[in-house]
């Protein structure tokens, strides 16, 4: 009787049944709970075991099988932490820093690099600025010896600030140090990435990140086959035009010779000078289409000022640290590869050799950059110094005239894109 009364009092009463019915098999609820716990527990073990073995982020290295997990997918989250962990394991003496242009275009497995007896790692991260590069470098220094050489891609657009821009607030506290380790082992993302890894082994043009941090954008080959390079160039150019409309035209916060990006650059150069790391600052080889869009957006003179600023900062760090080795390379311009013809609309057969689209060059072009930096014989790339700035300006003007004559459509198209973006800007 007491038993019945007890269950009668309980909250989830059975509908349309006498109270005693709810009490018929109390053990089954216990068994149900135990089974649930078993399913969850077994599932957790299975998932973590599977992810650790497949190792979609190059973190554990238990198995390396071409049939199972040799090619890894591009991680969508915790890429900074994953790259730092990989770089720490690789212990590179040549590090590549920058945004997506570095991440995509510079191949740390390049024959140029190995021919010079170097071990490289690509720490470039898409969508990031020098703040991230500097942070990553400092963190890498905590666990690895300083690199002998660093190639740092500097992005002109990241240096544009509003004159009244306040100093950047300190970064909000990010994920806990252990959280990324946990999430890369046990999360829906890590599980799907592990499954994706298995599938990728048979894919023709997988979207991958290599064990040395490069994202070679091979999946763009598939887009190019389906839609053609014209579509890829046009889509990105449309996005770039909108971005340019939002950009201010100043390099410095009013009344100073500073900005967040310049501060980060100074800090990074100083740190590397103290580490005796040979630094190569790289101005990216934008495609002529993007250069023409800079012009149309009225950024030409700011771009020129920016080059001067980079040279000044390199000189300044040499003055602060007499042993510092800092080079500034200008790979921008309009000649040769940078004036590569964009396949026409509907053309899904012609492939470009140097560019995925105007902002991102392929490894083939990246190879030329590395060749020049590592001392190879090539005319590509211009070493910038206070005494060569004027000559560089003349070079670019001459290249522009040549490209405009050979390929006027690219300039007309850039004009239209910027005009459209300006018309639709809020």
């Amino acid at each position: 009787m007491e038993q019945i009364q007890r269950y009668d009092d309980e909250a989830p009463v059975l509908v349309g049944a006498p109270a005693s019915a709810a009490a018929q098999a109390p053990v089954s609820y216990k068994r149900f709970t135990a089974w649930c716990a078993t399913v969850v527990g077994a599932g957790v073990l299975l998932v973590t075991g599977f992810v650790a073995v497949i190792d979609p982020y190059h973190l554990y290295g238990f198995v390396d099988s071409p049939a199972l997990n040799h090619v890894k997918p591009l991680p969508e989250q915790y890429r900074e932490q994953i790259k730092l962990a990989q770089a720490t394991a690789v212990r590179p003496d040549l590090i590549l820093l920058g945004n997506s242009r570095v991440e995509v275009g510079l191949d740390p497995d390049s024959p140029q690099v190995s021919a010079h007896g170097r071990t490289a790692y690509n720490m470039g991260l898409s969508g990031t600025s020098l703040t991230t590069s500097e942070r990553m470098y400092v963190q890498l220094r905590e666990s690895a010896a300083p690199a002998a050489m660093a190639v740092i891609g500097v992005e002109f657009l990241d240096f544009l600030v509003k004159p009244d821009e306040a100093p950047a607030a300190p970064a909000a506290s990010g994920p806990l140090p252990w959280q990324w380790r946990f999430d890369t082992l046990f999360s829906i993302k890590s599980l799907t990435d592990a499954l994706r890894t298995v599938r990728l082994q048979k894919a023709a043009d997988p979207e991958t990140m290599t064990g040395r941090g490069q994202t070679p954008l091979r999946n763009y080959n598939q887009f190019a086959r389906q839609e053609g390079y014209y579509a890829i160039f046009q889509q990105k150019a449309g996005d770039n035009a909108k971005t340019l409309m939002r950009k201010p035209h100043n390099l410095f916060v009013a009344g100073t010779n500073r900005s967040e990006s310049i501060d980060r650059l100074r800090t990074l150069l100083d740190t590397m000078a103290r580490d005796r790391t040979e630094v190569h600052l790289v101005i990216y080889p934008y495609h002529a289409q993007l250069m023409a869009m800079f012009e149309e957006a009225g950024l030409q003179s700011t771009l020129d000022d920016w080059r001067q600023m980079l040279v000044r900062e390199a000189d300044a760090v040499r003055a602060r640290y007499p042993n510092a080795r800092v080079n500034v390379w200008d790979f921008s311009g309009y000649a040769g590869m940078r004036c590569e013809r964009i396949p026409g609309p509907g053309d899904t057969r012609t492939a470009t050799r140097w560019y995925w689209e105007a902002g991102h060059f392929k490894s083939t072009l990246g190879e030329r950059i590395l060749q020049r930096i590592l001392g190879g014989e090539t005319a590509f790339g211009f070493r910038l110094g206070a005494d060569t700035l004027a000559a560089n300006r003349q070079r670019i003007a001459a290249e522009r005239a040549q490209c405009a004559g050979d390929y006027p459509q690219v300039f007309a198209g850039a004009r239209d894109l910027v005009a459209n973006a300006r018309a639709s800007a809020p």
Partner: protein, 510 residues
């Protein structure tokens, strides 16, 4: 603290539950005190600055409740008025100060600086709960003498932050019941299952819909028909599964402690008309607005015109409750208008004896859902202009565009579509496909599957009644079997895998 976090699931909840049931063996008072303390910790996890505000509100309202209960004649009403003015004043300060200042600045072309008051989380819910308590006390429906039980009633963590809005009369007897203080595997198994379903709604569905809704409302620059509807439907289902998931989790957690919470959701998107919708959406808030606003305004007792005015007033204030902004007022006004039209139509249809067959039911349901989605645009959009831009797209006035990558897959159909005026734009193919995939999944679950209460139809796991069919199909009915333990275990595992990106519940901001 969020229900969908590892901290809650593996730290707070086990410690609270074990402490509660162990203490309950010695003393129910100690167990209730422990639960109240745990609830304050739960609240303070977000910001301990507002614990004094919460406690102050509780002490004040309890004391005013005593005064109202003990007073007689006009004094009774004076105490009630004083308490309500204070409660609403506090709510107005925290929720509407900047809204009123902006309004005053706009009207008088003034430049009074905004206060930028931070809204204490859950203030609407604990204030409404206490207003209901005061009014019920005034009407002689309740008399509460135990302060600890009152504190627990207000702070009880499963409902504290985002509802459901509780009634004193339905909770206090449960806090008295000895069975509520005894651990029961039945309560635990049923509660865990409801919680798991709610957690899955939140982290497996709502959180996957969120980026697609956010993209339309915050980032998109293409508002063609399919894009606009895709984003709005993504938001409609995101909000549905977010809030419904939260309500399920609250009911499930509470049941583990032996307490039944009121039902808050009953498949509102299956509603056949807007009156029905409001009986099924956020049921405890609708009940509150009906009992403590619509009825005191006169309800339908003073003729049809006053009834419509009262409906509009109630919905306008309901809209304003959701947020201090004109878009929320417009959302409330739209729903007020919908209700007026619905009541008017019902009266006319009754008089004309219009037939209401199956086809009519389907049309009525589709019209209701579309109307609700249109109103959601104002609810979510960051400005009136943005809302109008999206509505423009939903009406097809920005054309019918599809991503070029999809066009490539259509073969000859693409040419046909182009002849019909469909354009193809570059980029956005993945976003478009993912948006509609999640919309279809959300729609299928919302429209075609039974809701949690129907699945748990063998048990009265929550207080209140459903408008829809009482039970799901036999195979869909939960029971403590091995089959169901596999389902629930798998759902829990899937949800745990998705906890790495804890996202706040949408209703926390109200």
């Amino acid at each position: 603290m969020l229900f969908n976090s590892f901290t809650f699931l593996f730290l707070f909840l086990p410690i609270t539950a074990i402490g509660y049931f162990l203490l309950a063996r010695r003393s129910h008072v100690q167990a209730a005190g422990w639960l109240a303390l745990a609830s304050l910790t739960f609240y303070g996890w977000w910001s301990y600055y507002y614990i004094p505000l919460l406690l102050g509100s509780i002490v004040f309202n309890y004391w005013m409740g005593q005064r109202i209960g003990q007073a007689a004649g006009p004094a009774r009403k004076r105490w009630l008025t004083a308490a309500l003015v204070t409660d609403l004043g506090l709510l107005a300060y925290y929720k509407y100060a900047d809204f009123f200042i902006s309004g005053a600045n706009w009207l008088a072309h003034a430049d009074i600086p905004l206060l930028h008051v931070v809204l204490p989380i859950g203030i609407s819910f604990f204030t409404f709960t206490q207003i209901a308590y005061l009014v019920d006390t005034y009407q002689g429906k309740v008399k509460e003498a135990r302060f600890l039980h009152y504190v627990l009633f207000i702070t009880y963590f499963p409902h504290l932050i985002a509802g459901p809005v509780l009634h004193h009369a339905e909770m206090m007897p449960q806090f008295d019941k000895p069975a509520s203080y005894r651990f029961s595997f039945q309560n635990f198994a049923v509660g865990l299952s409801i919680f798991a379903i709610g957690l899955a709604k939140k982290v497996l569905i709502a959180d996957n819909l969120a980026p697609h809704a956010n993209f339309l409302f915050d980032k998109a620059d293409i508002f063609s028909l399919a894009n606009a509807w895709g984003g709005v439907l993504a938001y409609a289902f995101q909000l549905y599964f977010d809030f419904s998931g939260y309500s399920d989790m609250a009911i499930g957690i509470s049941l583990m402690f032996g307490i039944r919470l009121p039902l808050n959701f009953d498949s509102p998107y299956k509603a056949a008309n807007i009156i029905d919708f409001w009986r099924r959406w956020h049921m405890t808030l609708s009940r509150f607005l009906r009992d403590y606003l619509y009825v005191p305004l006169g309800g339908n007792r003073k003729g049809p015109v006053r009834r419509y005015v009262n409906l509009m007033t109630t919905m306008l204030l309901g809209g304003l409750w959701h947020g201090a902004g004109m878009n929320f007022v417009i959302w409330g006004a739209l729903h007020g208008l919908y209700l007026v039209i619905n009541h008017g139509w019902n009266a006319m249809a009754d008089r004309l004896r219009l037939p209401r067959g199956r086809t009519w039911a389907v049309f009525s349901w589709a019209l209701t859902f579309a109307a609700v989605c249109v109103a959601w645009v104002f609810f979510r959009a960051t400005s009136f202009d943005k809302a109008m831009t999206i509505l423009h797209g939903m009406a097809g006035l920005d054309g019918v565009g599809l991503p070029a990558s999809i066009g490539l897959q259509l073969g000859p159909l693409k040419t046909l579509l182009e002849q019909w005026g469909v354009t193809f734009y570059l980029g956005g193919g993945s976003r478009f496909l993912e948006t509609w995939q999640w919309v279809v999944i959300g729609g299928f679950i919302a429209f075609c599957l039974p809701n949690t209460q129907q699945i748990m139809g063998r048990y009265e796991a929550a207080l209140g009644t459903m408008a829809g069919p009482r039970l799901a199909a036999r195979w869909q009915l939960w029971q403590p079997s091995r089959r169901w333990s596999l389902y629930i275990g798998a759902i829990l595992l899937g949800s745990l895998l998705s906890l790495s990106r804890p996202a706040e519940f949408l209703y926390f901001q109200f």
